[in-house]
Structures are given as structure tokens and as C-alpha cells.
Point group: C2
Chain length 483, copies 2
């Protein structure tokens, strides 16, 4: 009983009261992470690392299906490498950690701990690529990277994080641009279909693009507090890095030409998105496709009738596992069913399967959805079809619910007053016209702390005037506060 009481001592702060506090409560109570003694670095505990592993498996399959292969490049990058692409060094220099001593000696040249690997990989590609026959080069790396952030937030902005970074080199601009778009589409499908998070595809404005890119494309998701989270980016790098690192190939026409490169990445900040899109005041809520445990079986009822119930539950467990469903049973008798209900809701398990003596008599079970709380009685004989179908339904409904939330929190602003009011009072995504100037983009930020998220490929409206200066709009832009 001591254990049960302990679990209830600290309730989760409700989202409506303090969303940031809610987030920090959930990630600790659902046992996802812990703070480490190194500033801004967290420990990924097994429950969050497992989600990352599921993401890796799914994306890796897509990368390989589209002809990419994995490789691994060094963690350390010589300081001189950062000087070779001007914007890149300006963008990343303030965030770099430096190794200055190693093996008892002071190093002649400082080594950065990689914040991203365009420079190192550019250097290697320059050695590997000689002829048009060597192109395209399509590599991906799963790795840790470090950016010494001033303000950190678990999963969303940590000094060290885990990610994948794809790096490709092509003979032509067209091919490189097609690759950039292909990867943005793969990210979109992955985030929407696997994580059940709807996203907006679009292009970053020049002030928000990757340091060193010609064009940056992103997918943007809305969190339950109305803030945006950039869920993945794909960069068309043009010949910037090719020229900086001298990546040239001899073309069919016997001319030496610079290649065109791309890079693209998603990271463990997606775990933060999962929590903030689907979580509620009872804790985490995981879409079935990403959940390590999709169904938790909990035998209930009084001690004296326990044995046949647990036996029947065990049979159901075996049967469902045989179908390839990810099912576990919690048959401990030193914690109450109520405690277990709370615990697995907190951890976000999509379906709870309860079975008690009366159910056993009726040859049925109770299924409870984590996302909606709906309960239904299902005959044991129908579980094999009912459960897979319910998991599909939940996956689908979670996506739709998130989409509805986004629609309910999307606005269109004609001027800065409207923008400010929507951002500060309604909290959400605001579509507005933009003339294309840095000044007008900055004016929005100064007015209400919202930044441009992206220029959507498929805007719901086409505003005619710039939200700040009123001149004709060049683009429709989504603005929002962001993580």
C-alpha cells in the first residue's frame, strides 16, 4: 500500500493550469527521462528510448527503400572545417563545445563536438567523388550531436540529442531538389502515419533557414498549448558546401563540375512532440503504431477467484502475442487494479484489457481506449479481429483529433493587431500575408514573439497584403510561437 500511496502523492499539474509544468510532470511520472549532472543533457530512460528505437526502425526502412545506406562519420570536427562555409560557421559557432586537450596533451587545433556533419561529410565526399559514375551518393547517419543551448527543455532542446542526418550529393540541381522533396515527403508520411501528428509542409523564410542552405523546407506541428514544433527539416544546399569543400566530379562531357548536395534530419525532439500533441491530464497517450506495449491485460476481481481469471488472461496474452500484437499482462497482486489503471494510462498504453470472474463467466473482456476513455465489452472469441481493428481505429482517431485541434487553433490575420490578438489570446497558428522583407518578419516577432514557421506549399487562403506593411503579399506564411 505504501507504493500505491507514493504514486498518488504528486498529481500531474493540469494542462489548463500550467502547460510547461504539465509537460515536465508527465515526462518524469511516465518515467521517460531524468536530468543528468551535465547542464542540458538528459538521460533517455528505457520507456523513451524504446519510442526512439521504434522511430528508427520505421524511418530506416524508408531510407533504405529509397536507396540510402547508413555510414558513420567522426564525432570530432577540426575547427578549420567550420571556416569553409561562411554562413555555417556563423550559425553554429556560438553553440559549439570544444575539445582542447586529449591524451594528456594540448591539441594543436581545437576539435568541435559535431553539431551536424555537413563539413566532415563534405570533406570525405571530396575524396570519394571523382566521376559522374560515382553519383548520386546517398548516405545517412544515426548519431548523437551536441549544441550548447542557453535554455534547455527535455527532449525539445537539449545540449546533446540523438538524430539522423542524411547527406546526399548529386550531379544536377534538379536531382538534388527532387531528393530534398522526397525526404520531406518521407518525413511527412512518417510523422503523420506513424506518430499520428498532422504537419504543415512548407519552405522556411531566409531568416529561418539552416545555416549554409540555399533553401530549407520543414514540417511544422502544433502542440496542445498552441505553440509550433518543427518536426523535421530537409535542406537543398546547392553548391555551397561543394564549393567550400571542393567536391567536384568529371562529367560525361569531360568538364570538372561541383556537385549539388542536400541534408535532412529528424531528432529525439519528436518525443517531445508526441507527448505534447497526444498527452492529457492523465499522462502520456501513445499512438498504437509507436507504442511498445499496445495492449495491457489486467486481471481483476477478488483474491479467491483469481486463479482461473489469471489463467484465462494468460491464454489471451499468448493468443494475441501469436498474432504479432504487442501485449503485456500485469498480474501482480501486491498493487490494486486501480493503481494499475492509473499507471498504464500515465504511460500511454493505447488499450487496457480488463478481465474479471464475471467476464470469464460470460466469455468476454472489457476494452478501454486510452485516447477517448471509451469502454466496450468484447467476446473473447472475437478478440483476434476486434483488437487489430480497434488499434487501427485509435491510430486513425488520434490523428484526426490532432488535426481537428489544429484546425480549431488556426487563424488568418490581416494586420499586426489581429496577429497579436490571435497569438496571445487564442494561442495558435496564424496565417498572414508577407511582402518578403526581413523587417516585416521581425515586426511580427517584436509585436507578439511569433516567428514565421514556414511558407506552406498548400495554404488554406492566399492573403493579398503584408500583415505588417500592407504592401502586396508575396507569400502566405504561417506564424506561431515555437519550441
Amino acid at each position: 500500500m505504501a507504493k500505491e500511496n507514493k504514486a498518488f502523492v504528486k498529481e500531474i499539474t493540469p494542462q489548463s493550469e500550467d502547460f510547461s509544468r504539465w509537460y515536465l510532470d508527465v515526462i518524469q511520472k511516465a518515467d521517460l527521462m531524468d536530468y543528468s549532472p551535465v547542464r542540458g543533457c538528459i538521460v533517455f530512460k528505457p520507456d523513451s528510448y524504446e519510442i526512439w528505437e521504434a522511430c528508427q526502425r520505421e524511418l530506416d526502412k524508408e531510407f533504405k527503400r529509397t536507396g540510402h545506406r547508413n555510414a558513420y562519420f567522426p564525432l570530432f570536427i577540426p575547427e578549420s572545417f567550420f571556416q569553409k562555409e561562411k554562413e555555417h560557421v556563423e550559425g553554429f559557432n556560438p553553440e559549439l563545445p570544444w575539445v582542447t586537450e586529449a591524451g594528456g596533451d594540448k591539441l594543436e587545433e581545437r576539435l568541435a563536438v559535431r553539431p551536424t556533419s555537413e563539413t566532415m561529410i563534405g570533406h570525405m565526399y571530396a575524396q570519394w567523388i571523382q566521376s559522374y559514375r560515382d553519383l548520386p551518393v546517398l548516405l545517412n547517419q544515426w548519431a548523437n550531436v551536441v549544441r550548447w543551448e542557453k535554455r534547455t527543455l527535455p527532449f525539445l532542446r537539449t545540449s546533446e540529442f540523438l538524430w539522423q542526418e542524411g547527406h546526399t550529393a548529386h550531379a544536377t540541381e534538379d536531382e538534388a531538389r527532387a531528393e530534398t522533396m522526397q525526404m520531406l515527403d518521407i518525413y511527412t508520411r512518417f510523422v503523420e502515419d506513424f506518430l499520428a501528428i498532422p504537419v504543415i509542409q512548407g519552405q522556411k523564410t531566409p531568416s529561418e533557414k539552416f545555416a549554409g542552405a540555399v533553401d530549407t523546407y520543414s514540417i511544422e506541428a502544433i502542440m496542445k498549448d498552441g505553440k509550433a514544433l518543427q518536426a523535421g527539416t530537409s535542406h537543398y544546399l546547392g553548391q555551397n558546401f561543394a564549393k567550400g569543400f571542393d567536391i567536384q566530379y568529371l562529367d560525361k562531357d569531360n568538364q570538372l563540375k561541383h556537385v549539388y548536395t542536400t541534408s535532412w534530419g529528424i531528432s529525439t525532439r519528436l518525443l517531445g512532440a508526441l507527448i505534447m500533441v497526444h498527452g492529457d491530464d492523465r499522462g502520456l497517450s501513445l499512438p498504437p503504431k509507436v507504442a511498445t506495449t499496445q495492449v495491457i491485460i489486467i486481471p481483476i476481481g477478488p483474491q479467491k477467484s483469481r486463479e482461473p481469471v489469471v489463467e484465462a488472461a494468460g491464454n489471451i496474452l499468448n493468443q494475441l502475442q501469436g498474432l504479432g500484437l504487442r501485449v503485456r499482462m500485469d498480474a501482480r497482486d501486491d498493487v490494486s487494479p486501480g493503481w494499475k489503471f492509473n499507471e498504464y494510462e500515465m504511460r500511454g498504453v493505447p488499450i487496457r484489457l480488463e478481465i474479471g470472474p464475471r467476464d470469464l463467466e460470460n466469455q468476454q473482456v472489457v476494452l478501454v481506449r486510452r485516447d477517448t476513455g471509451e469502454k466496450q465489452f468484447v467476446p473473447i472469441s472475437e478478440l483476434e479481429t476486434a483488437l487489430p481493428s480497434l488499434l487501427d481505429t485509435i491510430q486513425h482517431d488520434m490523428f484526426e483529433a490532432a488535426k481537428t485541434f489544429r484546425e480549431d487553433h488556426s487563424y488568418t490575420a490581416e494586420n499586426l493587431e489581429e496577429m497579436t490578438s490571435y497569438i496571445n489570446d487564442k494561442r495558435g497558428f496564424v496565417l498572414a500575408g508577407w511582402c518578403g522583407s526581413d523587417e516585416c518578419e521581425r515586426a511580427v516577432k517584436d509585436a507578439c514573439s511569433a516567428t514565421s514557421r514556414n511558407i506552406p506549399f498548400d495554404p488554406p487562403a492566399q492573403p493579398t497584403n503584408c500583415v505588417n506593411c500592407g504592401k502586396p503579399a508575396k507569400h502566405a506564411v504561417w506564424f506561431a510561437k515555437s519550441y
Copy 2:
């Protein structure tokens, strides 16, 4: 034709001429790695990274089957952490790279880039473990680690390498010792059954054990130059780290007790072992279980009869892939079959399947084994059974061949003269009696540069006297030069 010529410009140095040169030739010609601009750090190119991925999949399955879960801990470790276990700091301090500046500021405390994570994980376990109910804790981490080595060698000894490190905490010494042995057994089965490399299980002598361990156990393999390679280690750490980091739990008897910990790891140096155990003068030779491509199909014959041959080859490809075999076809017509034969032998593909117009007429193909060079004609209709069985045979035979090699290079020495002669002239593993003193162990090293590999659990003989001092032997010890 230019491409073909280029490939033949530089032949591999024969093993008999210069084994080290042979090794470096193979890893570059088989496209496994490249040197990076950072001292001692290599690039794992796709062909080697793929092997590592196969190893990860196989081991990860075993770790999870035995109740372990993956997690991820920070890359950086505060300097003060290393002071908490005396032997540990002495062992690792000379090899540490230090981050002294980050985000534009000089750090107050230097951060080591992890060489291994006992200290960081010990610190976290101290927060997580309160009660006997929290035990055992069974975690594993897949990560990069850095040790600033003076002399480096690709895969075998690199400044940065990839590995897994398991870290467990237990209530009793017995449980921790059982875990240590369980993991050594898992490594043994993995290296022998999956990589087809026979190993010797045993305990390290005190001078060779892990810095901070009570007992270190290892599996040792012999390379084709007679040198030993430590293929995996499992450490019983006793209460050393538990005391250094204050990892205590409240036991059932209401007493506060220190836990017992273990750690165990294997790394990308196994790739070096794979190459040096199975490779030959034609290049790499991969055991079927680890090979990404198990069978390469090469259509042959004159241009005019190419079309039906390529079509039949394509059908065979589909049929075999449908069986789950990892098969590829190389139907390029701008390189000759001879060039392809050499190329795929170099890359170590276990089976080559050739099919030409005459074969097609006879409804048969030619299978050529990479390990022995044996050729056989097989009817197309029998491929579905013949190929899986041949892959099994190759896997088995490669292990047996490596075992025979080891037996042919194992000796027993009665005194230092014999030891020196076996080590320097015969090149191999030498079993000898040892009195247990550091002096006698050092005497062997001084005489012939061989170090103690381990005290085998199951020695082939039980020498009665110490190889150096002649006093009664406490242990039989394997000595060898080593990587």
C-alpha cells in the same frame, strides 16, 4: 575498360608477405573504411557499418531476451566523477579527451568525452535505486566512446569507436556474478555462431583486468597472423562503483546495503576480427549469417544471348528473395564477369551464382563458394533447398576452419625459452603454467612481447610449474601477442 584496369592496378599484398599491409589493403579495397582528418578516427563506410548493424540486431535480440532494456546516457562526464573510483581514474585518465570550452565560455569543470560509462551510470543508479524492489536494474546502451590512443589501427584501435555497454545492479554478489557469466556466454555464442569465430573463455589476470573491476572475464580469438584479439569482456565490479557513487538500497531486513554491479561490452573491433580470421589473399570472406549479401547472381555469356539469361537470372533472384535469402544480382554490361568475380570475392560475398546460355539450356546454375572456391552445378529447380543448405554448410565450415587454424597454432610451453620460440617462430597461442605473480607475467612480456590473454575455464592441459620461476603453477594461462 578504364574502370576495370583501375581496379587491378593495386593488388592486395599477400598475407604471407606482410600481414599488416594485407589488412590495410583489404579494408580499403573492400571499401570498408576511410581515414578521417581527425587523428585515429575512421569513417565507417556503408559496407562495414552494415556488418555492425547486423551484429547490433543479433545481440540486441539476445539482450532483450534476457530481460535487458536499452537507454541512453550523456556523452560528457564531469571530471570529478572519475575521481570516485581510484583504479578507474588511473586506468582511463591518460586516454581522455577534454571539453574545456562550450557555447563561447570556459567551463568551470572540464568534461571528459566518455571512454566508458560506469561513472555516469553509477551516478544515475544512485538516484534510481532505493529499495530491493528496484533491483535488479538491467540496462544496455549502444553508443560511441572515445579513447585517445597513441597507436591506432582501423577498427581494432581507433580514437572513437562504436560499442554497446551493459550496466547492471543487483542485490547480491551471487546474482551479479551470474549476470557476468550469462553475458560472457551470450558473447561467446554470438561470436562463435554468428561471426563463425571460435573463442577461448577465461578470466583476465589482475594486471589485465578492467580498471575498477573485481574480476574481468574475456573471450579471446586468434587472428591469421597468430595474434590474439579480445573479442568481448564482462566485468564483475563488486561494490567498487556502488561505494564510489553511493548506490544503496533498503533491503527486506530494513538495512541499507550497497548494490553489486556488472558491466560488459563488445565493440566495432569485432569487424577487425572478422576480417583477420576469415579473410585471405583475395580479400574479405564473410560468414553467411553476417553477410548483407549472401548470394550474388552474375549472368554471363556473349551479348547476343544476354536477354534470356538476364531474364532467367531475374526470376531466380525473385524466387530466392521470396525465401528470405539476401540475394542481389549484378547484370551491368559495362564491366566483365571476370571483374565482377574479383569484386565480389574482395567484398566477401559467401556464394556466387553464375548463369550463362548453356546453363539456361540445361536448366542449371553454377554455385561458387567464397570460402573454399569449390564449384558445383545445381539444377534451378533445386535451388530453393540447395542454397539455404549450402549457406549453413559454409557457416559451419568457416567456423571449423578457424578452429582448426587455432588448434594448429596452439602450443604448450614449459619454460621461457620454449615460450619465446613458440611466440616468435611459430606465432600463436601458448599455454603455460603461472605462479600468480606479476613479476613472472612481466617476465614473459619482456622475453617475447606476449601478454597473458586469460586463465581459461577449460584448459586443454594443466601445467604443473610456472613458466618463469618454476614454482608450482596456480593457473594455466594462455599467452600471445595481441591487438
